[in-house]
């Protein structure tokens, strides 16, 4: 039940963020300072998430050679190819390979 309510909360917020200017504030402009800040939401939040997901329940960072190798190779492939499928395949491939070797 809590899970469903959480999904509805994020769904409502997502709809509002997509709709607020279309539905209500068509003649209002977002202040330039907010527009500048909004560009940095995606990189800052996603990188914070990557780290947060690697933190175990005791608050320790569970990151080893396999994870770091996967990030380096996956990041390079993403940069070169701009292809999510190739990034996922090579990143996970390196992760599994290094984990099997050490």
């Amino acid at each position: 039940m809590t899970d469903l309510l959480a999904i509805i909360a994020v769904g409502t917020g997502t709809y509002l963020s997509r709709g607020v200017f279309i539905l209500a504030l068509a003649n209002k402009k977002i202040p330039d300072s907010v527009l500048v800040a909004l560009q940095f939401v995606a990189p800052a939040v996603l990188s914070a998430l990557i780290v947060a997901l690697l933190i175990d329940s005791d608050g320790n960072i569970a990151i080893g050679v396999a994870e770091v190798s996967a990030f380096v190779v996956g990041g390079a492939v993403a940069y070169k190819t701009r292809n999510h499928i190739l990034t996922l395949i090579t990143g996970m491939g390196v992760f599994w390979l290094v984990r099997a070797l050490i």
Binding site: L4, S17, R18, I30, A37, V41, A52, L53, T87
Partner: protein, 226 residues
Amino acid sequence: MSPDRSIVKQGIADAVPLFVPAIPFAFVIGVVIVDSGISPVVGWSSSWIIFGGAAQLTLISLLGSGAAVAAAISAGLVVNARHLMYSAAMAPVFQHQPRWMRWIGPYLLIDQQFALAMLRADDDRRTFRTYYLSSGLVFWTMWQITTVVGIMLGPIVPVSWSLEFAVSILFLGLIVMGIDKYPKLIAALVGAGVTYLSAGMPNRAGLLVGAFVGILVGTIAERIRE
């Protein structure tokens, strides 16, 4: 062929290739839903209640990892705050649309839809509407189907594969492909670093601290750059 039909075909033809990059997200969301212990039907409902891959992955991964519900919701909302930009950019186009279209339009306004719709901003009202609904329905339908496939694959994927790590790889890809100037790189590095330093905070609240400081420092770097 009537003009309407050709516009519908155009919308579909433009949407299908743009959906391809979303397929790994859909599969991983499915697997993570199964992994998280959330009921598959509830987990899948996020595909039509939220209809946004990054926010769905964020919310479900965090709920599954034992984060406080409030922290998981906040993170999911912050991830999707970028849609405010899309809403502001599309608002003038939608002012010429009927009321029902102004209510449905935002629901379909995902990243790919925004990219396509902006190119059509100068179309006449009816053409724009037909095109927008055609491409939007393609994205919506394919998203529902591919996340269900992911949920069906979830129980087959062995836990030892640690497929939850795929979420981190996908997010890394999104960051790398989105960096078009150095302040964004700084925002990403600071976001990660501060989250790391606040790892000891309860309920994964460090994530929000890291995200906030990352946005702040990125904004300052942009000011300096200008």
